[in-house]
Amino acid sequence: MSNDIDGIKDCDVIMVIGSNTTETHPIIGLRMKQAVKQHETSIIVADPRRINLVDYSQLWLSQKPGSDAALINAMCHVIIRDKLTDENYINERTENYSSFADSITECDPDWAEDITGVPASDIEEAARTFAKAKRGGIYYTMGITQHTSGTDNVKALANLALLTGNLGKHGAGLNPLRGQNNVQGASDMGCVPVFLPGYQPVANDENRQRFEKLWGCQLSSKPGLTATEMTPAMLEGKIKAVWIMGENPVMSDPNADHARKALNKVDFLVVQDIFLTETAELADVVLPAASYAEKEGTFTNTERRVQRVRQAVRPPGSARDDLSIINMVSERINYGQGDIAPNGFRHLDNTKLIDKASGVFNEISTVWPHLAGINYDRLEEAGIQWPCPDTDHPGTTFLFENDFPIGRASFSAISWKGPEERPDSDYPFILTTGRVLYQYHTGTMTRRSQTIENADSGPFIEININDAERLNIADGDTVLVKSRRGKVSLPAQVTDKIEAGVTFMPFHYHEAAANLLTNDALDPYCKIPEAKVCAVKIESVT
């Protein structure tokens, strides 16, 4: 997030697009609801489903899955046409405005209505509401990013924020809500094939040499493969060994059957997890790890807040925390000419967990200036939001107050491309996927928490009431859902909360895994898969 969670209460308008916030980020959803009650904030929801937040919104735009960039471009078109832009901001802080403005002259609300299914008048209202607000915040999740045009969608939203001067001030911003407790931290730490820790490109000689000096070894300058590119590389035999720490790609990856085949193909698979997950079942070696309650360390939340994780209980049996496991494997492997890494890789089993973790954190804060001012002592009372350049710095609640890392922020001309797979006569419905309130991701944790499992009603597919009638499907009937990649059968939930032609499935359930159906086509820039749009057909079984 460019901004912080606390600032939500001061937004005059909140645009929520591709995020079912009250279910996937309940505490952020709660702040949005409070903003409506206490600050009279207007919420604009753009989502193909009538999510709970719609009850609190001024306007609901029900765009077709995969049409987001058309919707956003049309909003930008209206803002420019009606001269509602923040001219000072555009002049002082941005570049490429005129070429961007030229690129959307044709993107009027009528054009967008044809693509998105959203009435042109609603697009006009949304654009004017957003542009006229003093503080406008944009909030999104995978509904924006998990598309073959995911990067473009985000850039389109950035255009909207820049046009209205909403990037670089309190109660505004461009705010991706991170779906997992430490997905922000894992990215920050350089668990990304193109970046060393702190988003320092691995292909840049200067960066790499700095790390080579710090770590006392030679580093490869060749960017690695993304998780989505690893799957085909395994199938082609280019990747022979894989170590998976705490992930369940067999359930979470689009076209999951493909992922399973790939992991079966590799010569050697190590899976480190707290349960024997669907992925661990395929492994050659399974390592028992510690849950968050059993370790020391830090997580970084969606608002860049670095917070201490503390050990409350011991891991069961002989399970070990992941850091100890990595250390122990590392110290057993010879590399280079028998060198040992200078930092962090000593066998530290006799050290207390906290000393071990804080030692690694201290190394991190020396390699990444944004964390330079953070240490475990400072985190004792409360978390700190990066960037935090020195130990007197209080942390940063919102980014880009005075400038952007690249100087001026650049508008990007985005042309709407649409999803890779569209409904046709064979597969006439669009399937989109997401989470429900009670379950979490692939269900490894929530489905083993009996209280949660008792409250949850299990897998389902939402089908529009008119579509269901046409197909002679009643609420609760079992249906067979097929895509070009797989099939699952599960109960239908007949509802008017989803538009005709669109269906929705949560992806938590191994017994009806939505990702057997989804499309693994990738965004060309960031290689994110198009899990949010694919074409399916539905057959009544009962």
Partner: protein, 348 residues
């Protein structure tokens, strides 16, 4: 600014500050069962009554705005007797089953009974019989322990915005209930459970687990979504028995159903407890020692790297793991193996 005097001490506060808040700034404590700084003033329990010069009868401090030159007294024998009687009245219609109550030791009503030494009760008589069992999965509702402070109703309305419960009936039959006195059917965030001052609302998942004795509290961060809510793990030996969250956290103490009640997986029997190895291709996974597992990993990683080069190896890190673990994992692949084939689930 407004200047007033409380118990002979002067204090200046901003306009709109209540007498209760002003007293709190002076660290003057008053008993209360319904005050909650995160909610609007309510004045339901009457325990924070104070005497104000010029006002004939005691008034509730939590609903009285401070005014210029106000002179307040929070402590007198008269106030003590009034407050003690209020608690005595509440207890006259309370099961007093603290021995088997989940909230024993963490109950404001119990604390007040202790403070006012209320063993006998002058108002003994008929008690309410709210013995309806609510079958919802999360919240144990024992309405005969309810003191009608309204905190649950207010938090559900003001914070969660769900309005799943409200007061029903009048007088002696007053009760907090979902519509039509059916089972609770809501988002089960449990804010009501967290805010309840008695044992009326508890987590079903807490039942029969440790209450206070030998319970250790650990401050940490929730392991689910990216909100990163601060949580307190209540543990007995190596078992998590409850999760709560502190009011002064960035999430203001609010949690969701998963964060508050979804911890049973930690204690689950089918946790992996020992390394497993597939000794023959196509065979079963069998228990192994750590040394055996490490030896196999090291020899296979080394031989694959030697034969096919470092880019034949790849690692998937985890958004479940800590920063330190993720840093070490990428460093292992980059510095030890020599490849940038390292990624995690940011795209899923």
């Amino acid at each position: 600014m407004i200047t007033l005097t409380i118990n002979g001490r002067e204090i200046s506060v901003s306009e709109g500050t209540t007498v209760f808040e002003a007293a709190k700034e002076l660290e003057i404590e008053m008993p209360t069962l319904c005050y909650e700084p995160r909610l609007k003033p309510y004045g339901g329990c009457r325990l924070c009554i104070v005497e104000i010069e010029g006002i004939p009868k005691p008034v509730t401090a939590c609903t009285t705005p401070a005014t210029e030159n106000m002179v307040v007294n929070t402590n007198s024998d008269y106030l003590y007797r009034l407050r003690r009687t209020i608690v005595e009245l509440l207890l006259s219609d309370h099961p007093n089953d603290c021995m088997i109550c989940t909230r024993a030791g963490d109950c404001t009503l119990q604390e007040l009974a202790y403070f006012y030494k209320l063993r006998e009760n002058r108002f003994k008589g008929e008690t309410r019989k709210h013995d309806r069992i609510d079958e919802n999965p999360f919240v144990k509702r024992e309405m005969d322990k309810c003191i009608l402070c309204g905190l649950c109703v207010r938090v559900c309305d003001e914070v969660q915005g769900v309005n799943a419960i409200d007061f029903v009936n009048r007088g002696f039959n007053s009760n907090i209930s979902p519509p039509y006195e059916k089972d609770l059917d809501c988002e089960f965030c449990g804010q009501c459970v967290a805010i309840c001052p008695t044992g009326a609302l508890t987590g079903k998942v807490w039942a029969g687990e440790g209450r206070q004795k030998n319970v250790k509290h650990t401050e940490t961060v929730c392991g689910y979504c990216g909100c990163g809510c601060n949580v307190t793990l209540h543990t007995v030996r190596d078992r998590v028995v409850r999760i709560s969250s502190k009011r002064d956290s960035h999430n203001q103490g609010w949690l969701c159903a998963k964060g508050r009640f979804g911890y049973e997986f930690i204690n689950k029997n089918d946790r992996l407890k020992t390394p497993l190895i597939r000794r023959k291709k196509g065979g079963e996974l069998e228990p192994a020692t750590w040394e055996e597992a490490f030896d196999l990993i090291v020899s296979r990683f080394n031989s694959i790297k030697k034969k096919y080069g470092p880019d034949a190896l790849a690692g998937l890190a985890s958004a479940r793991c800590t920063n330190e673990e993720n840093y070490a994992f990428q460093k292992f692949f980059r510095a030890v193996i020599g490849t940038n084939n390292i990624d995690h689930c940011a795209r899923y």
